[in-house]
Amino acid sequence: MKNYLPSITLAAFLGSLHLAGAADITGKVTLKGTPPPERTIEFEAMCGKLHSKPVTTRHYVVGADKGLANVFVYIKQGAQKAPAAGEGPVLDQVGCMYEPYVMGVVTGQKFKVRNSDALLHNVHATPKPGGNKEFNFAQVSKGQVNEKSFDAPEVLVRMKCDVHAWMFAFIGVVDHPYFAVTDKDGNFTIKNVPAGKYTVEAVHQKAAPTGKTAEVEAGKSVNFEIEVPAQ
């Protein structure tokens, strides 16, 4: 079993400054170890027609140089509360799958839930007990969009469709805009972080969350490594 217990090595460094006193935190999350094999999703008839190739679960999506995708990276400590800038993200339902698999929002920020399938889904948020308010609503037609938000920080809130049991995704909710989700190669960029000392945490829905402190100084870079064991 220990062979399946990967760890994630996260190397982050302070990026170049875009604004006076603000900088990007960039880095990469890598997976150490061999993850268990993903399982093929058995679609029901209507959803099956939307896919020409087998589709698997997305627990561990590993890219180049063992970079791990779908990791929510955010400043856990040190950041001041701040509202979101710009429009909220979109959680889409395409081919009876959620896209993206992991995304982030700021508390109170409206995000859109869209049904791009010509069939019905229900959208069911299942926060942790004592956390955000659970909700469940129907999206019966193609193109339907609803706006939702979460009031309390919570990493991660699971979204699911009860009509199609294999459909689930995760949303990281924090009270500031300093977060990112790793791309297919495990890279991330947390933009416009004010100078200061922060605890950054990388959360993967299977691996354990781990945080390490990185000092951010204007014009300098900081490298750090976060190991996230899957044990």
Binding site: M1, P37, L120, N122, E134, V140, K160, D162, V163, W166
Partner: protein, 403 residues
């Protein structure tokens, strides 16, 4: 012969022992088992929230929901609702039938008008209306049970209780969806078992065998208390099972007979995190929690207790009455059910909670409760009360004991 005259004579004859009434009660019980089976499919597939609205279905009147949209989890949940409506209607007819047969005067008019008015109000498909009806139904249950205790013909009050209970049950199911509360689901699962046992009891007491059975002539000794205790433990087991299903803890422990390779699994935070991380689920399984693991361990231990109790009850029954006795046959059947039930419980784990296996486990659990309830009923009727002197036991042979 005037067919309508025959129909009304059948309906109004003041005798409980009516073959068609009994058959109708059996039909209602069978429909209830079918409903429990469908409810088991809903929870086994984890699709209880697939229809997010109630009493409508995706905005439609539930009876007009287009069939092409019965897909995925919607199929199970919507079917469950429709079958529940059918069971509600059957129970209403049963209640009307019994009240027509067992009562006269203003009391009959009031109750029959109440039942028919309730059926009419079902057409007002708003959540508020259903909640109001359920609140009234709680009062009806309390009143009916009180009347059943003191009246010489209690069946009509028992049937009225069943009608009120099925109404409450439907509203619990609806509120579980709209209020997003797993806890309501646990009540829903528990009331389902009580209702099924009640309907089966009605089927038994309306049978000709019940009417012809000998009353209080068998010395059952402490057997009746053993039946009561074992049935109580089964009921407790069903509550634990309902809690597991509605807390999504059915696979909180993925192996059997060990638990995470141990006799007693670790439930510290690090272990729980590890259990969740190493699980590669296809469906949106809820996170494993320490309480879920403990709940399943309690379910396993109580299963052992139930198995032991029912086997002891069977052995003691056979020793007292011999193999040819109806009680012995009933107790043997009960033991067989419990053994199958234990195997199905293990199979639920071994098959990674395959929906058909898990659903069979739910259904057999309900049958086990009903079998125990039946034995209690027959024992209550046929066993001699401890402090009562009756005709000599030698007058009745062992094989005549009904069950």
């Amino acid at each position: 012969m005037d067919r309508s005259g025959w129909f009304f004579r059948q309906l109004t004859t003041q005798s409980i022992n009516n073959i068609w009434l009994h058959r109708f009660a059996v039909l209602t019980a069978a429909a209830t088992l079918f409903l429990i089976w469908m409810g088991g499919l809903v929870t086994s597939h984890g699709v209880g929230m697939a229809v997010p609205d109630w009493p409508t279905t995706y905005g439609y009147n539930m009876f007009a929901f287009p069939f092409p949209q019965w897909v995925g989890g919607v199929f199970y949940e919507h079917s469950h609702r429709l079958i529940a409506s059918a069971v509600g209607l059957l129970t209403a007819v049963l209640a009307i039938w019994v009240w027509l047969r067992q009562s006269v005067g203003s009391q009959r008019r009031i109750v029959l008008c109440g039942i028919i008015a309730t059926l009419g109000l079902m057409g007002v498909r708003t959540q508020t209306m259903f909640v109001i009806l359920a609140i009234v139904a709680v009062g009806v249950v309390v009143f009916s049970l009180a009347r059943a205790k003191v009246e010489p013909q209690p069946l009509r009050w028992i049937v009225l209780t069943a009608f009120a209970l099925v109404l409450i049950q439907g509203v619990l199911g609806g509120l579980r969806v709209t209020q997003l509360k797993d806890e309501i689901g646990i009540f829903h699962g528990t009331v389902a078992q009580i209702f099924f046992a009640l309907v089966c009891a009605i089927a038994i007491v309306t049978s000709s065998r019940w009417a012809q059975s000998k009353i209080a002539v068998y010395d059952g000794g402490p057997l009746r208390y053993l039946y009561v205790f074992a049935t109580g433990m089964i009921f407790l087991q069903l509550i634990i099972g309902a809690t597991m299903r509605h807390q999504h803890a059915g696979l909180a422990i993925p192996d059997f007979p060990l638990a995470y390779g141990k006799l007693w699994p670790a439930t510290d935070a690090a272990s729980i995190e590890s259990y969740n991380q190493t699980r590669i689920e296809v469906a949106a399984a809820s996170p494993i929690t320490a309480s879920g693991v403990l709940l399943q361990m309690v379910h396993r231990i109580n299963a052992l207790a139930v198995l032991a109790l029912v086997l002891v009850a069977c052995v003691k029954t056979v020793r007292r009455f011999g193999w040819r006795s109806g009680f012995s046959k009933g107790a043997a059947f009960w033991s067989g059910l419990i053994i199958c039930q234990a195997l199905l419980g293990a199979a639920t784990i071994w098959t990674n909670k395959a929906a058909d296996v898990a659903t069979a486990h739910v259904s057999l659990g309900a049958l086990s409760l009903v079998t125990g309830t039946s034995l209690i009923l027959w024992a209550s009727r046929c066993f001699q009360p401890a402090a009562r002197t009756v005709e000599p036991m030698g007058l009745v042979t062992k094989s005549e004991v009904p069950a």
